[in-house]
Symmetry: C2
Subunit: 328 residues, 2 copies
DNA sequence: TTGTAAGCGTTATCAC
DNA sequence: GTGATAACGCTTACAA
């Protein structure tokens, strides 16, 4: 009890009868004389010594901490991402410092700059602030949005995913397609979901409607949209591609309330690959983001101290998964 | 560019033409002379100085970091908890260091002890290791499991929740009840869900069956159980209380595959209050844990430096929410 | 190969 | 009220 004054290297050195520097070497795996090695290791065990990471960080001007900035953890895509990132970091003996912004520009900026007083090894962030100031000298990786030259951006192949969605709907016999989206008004990588979708539609010679609303807009705007395209209990579209699984989920519920059946009357494909309870069934047919691979890549980049000509944008391939809202 | 050698207090002191100690005082809100105050603040702005938290932590032997240990972030209950905890900590100017264990006893222990070399302000954990060694001198809060005397445990009112589930099923006309559970073989607070359920059944004079299997057991054990109680397309039970929403969700799917309708033939209540996409509809009728309040309480306790006679167990009230798997 | 000593950026204790 | 100065625990030249 009275002891717990925290054991330091000095204590270990005294206990082992060696100099402070020798202990440090042993702790850091730098070779020392066999007998010293043993003596120090025994003393460490005996005393239960553990290195003080703050002191080390201060001295080395670098902690083994990576900062993660996300909007929240209740959205399954973000929580899955956080899960994968944290695990991948642990695997490499790094720690995860987590910040949640709920998309507040101010918080995004504040947490971003926090790293400066923190000596973190890297930053992995998913932000929306268009004027985000990035701390210099800290490897930074952005997810789904380009933060400017020199900052790596990791994303899924949004364009390819959009194409894939169109292809699948067409394969399943859809003739009248529409793309629905609610999202940041600022340009980011996820815009390409629409571009890819339109491209595939154009290539196939099939017309397609786009209904995109800004983030502030209430969901009811989509219900109005659907109703305005409902004639005699029949929707003008038989295939919908929604920019996220969440939107797909809501749209499906709206359609069902209007008396339409999914997938019999209307087929829907979402984007993300979200699953019930995180690892059970897909909520809907979806374009699956390779979350684990994205996390691994983010960590790779965030730990790459030397900015050795990192590509500005890295896109990872997506896949399609049937989840009940399509007829395949 | 060439400057970014990180600005220190010393730089600020020189810039402002005052002593180091004066800068420290300003930074920490300790009163100094009016003119000094201004000079220092201006210098700080001009130089863009930010306090180095590692140095402060080292000097004060205490960082403003709270360690959170959870099994994972894909399970909605855990991710919601993490979300609330992180937000609550931020609100009080603390940072969140996140560790995920996937219930590995070794990792639980390793992360628990990590705090010793970290000078964290507190630990909030949800663990299963029965022999977990707790670092001394760091305020520790356990969720859903008592870690022994002196360690606060925060949980929802599991017993009350069990009672409530039974009451709701009975109110809805159920006559033949059963409790289903898969969970840690080690005793923890969530065991009381069963106890409360049984108690309410007993009080009401209604028989109830309990089917509890250990964590390792494959889910198919429950399917076998259900099948063994299925006679002529009719289940021996018309009301099920599942220890978690996830189990309720799986059971519902199994029943539907067997040709039974929920809630017409069998009503189901889960526990947790999990929602689709984190904030949409409930997956099923459920006993809702007050996650936000629990998080707040955990943070309260984890930051309470003085162990001023903290109650060992704190239970927060639950509520019932209808989610389609019952007839109310 | 080992020991010594100078910091890393803060805070806190004192003389002034 | 202000300003030197000594730690905090560790790493790393550099000297022995």
């Amino acid at each position: 009890m009275a002891d717990s004054k925290s054991i330091t290297m000095k204590d270990v050195a005294r206990e082992a009868g060696v100099a402070l520097g020798t202990v440090s070497k042993v702790v850091n795996g730098i070779p020392v004389g066999k007998s010293y090695q043993r003596a120090v290791e025994e003393a460490i065990d005996r005393l239960g010594y553990r290195v003080n990471r703050q002191a080390r960080a201060l001295r080395c001007m670098k902690s083994n901490i990576v900062e993660i900035i996300l909007p929240n953890l209740y959205n399954p895509f973000f929580s899955r991402l956080a899960d994968c990132l944290c695990r991948e970091l642990s695997r490499r003996s790094y720690q995860t410092l987590l910040f949640l912004t709920e998309c507040s520009f101010e918080l995004e900026q504040a947490y971003m700059l926090m790293s400066e007083q923190q000596m973190v090894s890297g930053i992995i962030c998913l932000t929306y602030n268009p004027n985000l100031r990035i701390p210099k000298g800290i490897p930074t990786v952005s997810i789904d949005r380009s933060l400017g030259p020199g900052i790596a951006c990791v994303a899924s192949d949004n364009f390819g995913g959009g194409c894939l969605a169109a292809q699948k709907l067409l394969e399943n016999g859809c003739k009248r397609l529409a793309f629905l989206r609610t999202g940041a008004s600022l340009p980011n990588e996820t815009d390409k979901r629409r571009d890819g979708f339109i491209r595939a539609c154009t290539d196939a010679g099939v017309p397609c409607h786009c209904e995109c609303v800004n983030d502030g807009t209430p969901y009811s705007a989509f219900e109005d949209f659907l109703r305005s395209h409902l004639h005699d209990g029949r929707l003008d579209f038989d295939g919908l591609f929604c920019a996220t699984d969440l939107l797909a989920y809501k749209i499906q519920r709206s359609l069902e309330q209007m008396g339409l059946r999914v997938p019999e009357d209307v087929q829907i494909i979402g984007y993300d690959g979200a699953r019930c309870f995180g690892d059970q069934e897909y909520y809907c047919s979806t374009i699956v983001q390779p979350t684990e691979e994205m996390a691994r890549l983010c960590v790779d980049l965030a730990l790459q101290s030397s900015a050795q000509s990192i590509p500005c944008l890295l896109q990872l391939p997506v896949s399609y998964a049937s989840g009940g809202s399509t007829r395949d």
